[in-house]
Symmetry: C2
Subunit: 154 residues, 2 copies
């Protein structure tokens, strides 16, 4: 069941992704909610701006949330993100002990949750978050498609 | 073949891991070398210090190297690290386009290169670095074993 908090967070993540696109970054946005459903952090992709290939929206949102909460563990928290996390971000979700992951568009090429290495499904995976995929899927996918179409047209 | 640059870098990484242990962090150290074999960055695990579950030595070393080189791509670079990278760091190695990864101890429980999701071996993996495992394996493994033994003794 998707609660109102999660729906609002996905709208914030979609808005953050839009802002990323305006800055020439791949449009992905992410929000961390605490156990009460309150917003702890919002972030967008900043790879080009920061010269940091790891500056994906999810990683930045989780890092900011952990600093804000004063712990490297996001116990009870939900990560809401517009795109299926990649293997790097899926691995980070495990390390941060995020309780739930809600994502928008599926990513057959770059995803690491429902595709590719399926990080959470490995027997060695130490922490398995609840995963809900496909929330606002069409809008999230459209943001990405529009961005890459414009990029190709140069 | 392991070149002198790489051997020296592994010694620096082992020293950084020792420093991590002294600070109460899991002892892992990492160094990035550029294409000429010169040291670009050195980092150690700082998870507890930074409240950042993603602050693994590899990720910090690659982020620092990319900022220093002014590009989110570490083309031609080698990552030297005392422990087999986890799935998160393996995913980051792909995003940073690191050309070569040299690691010390194998990590059957937490590794993501030769164990677990084996990130580089997935058909969807966009970049496959050269991988050399087991350099100074015994010393690197001993650092970790000693750290965890002391931790258990409290």
């Amino acid at each position: 069941m998707i609660q109102a908090d999660t729906s609002r967070a996905m709208q914030m993540a979609l808005d953050a992704a839009d802002e990323a696109a305006r800055q020439g970054e791949v449009p992905v946005g992410a929000v961390v909610l605490d156990a009460a459903g309150d917003v702890v952090s919002v972030a967008r992709n900043r790879v080009e701006e920061l010269y940091d290939a790891s500056a994906h929206a999810e990683l930045l949102a989780m890092r900011a949330a952990a600093v804000k909460l004063g712990s490297p563990r996001l116990t009870g928290c939900t990560l809401v993100v517009t795109l299926e996390p990649c293997p790097m971000c899926a691995g980070a979700i495990v390390h941060f002990r995020c309780e739930r992951v809600v994502f928008g568009a599926y990513d057959p090429k770059g995803g690491g949750v429902e595709h590719g290495p399926r990080v959470f499904e490995r027997p060695t995976c130490l922490h398995r978050p609840e995963v809900i995929g496909g929330l606002r899927e069409r809008e999230a996918a459209l943001q990405l498609r529009t961005f890459f179409q414009r990029l190709r047209k140069g």
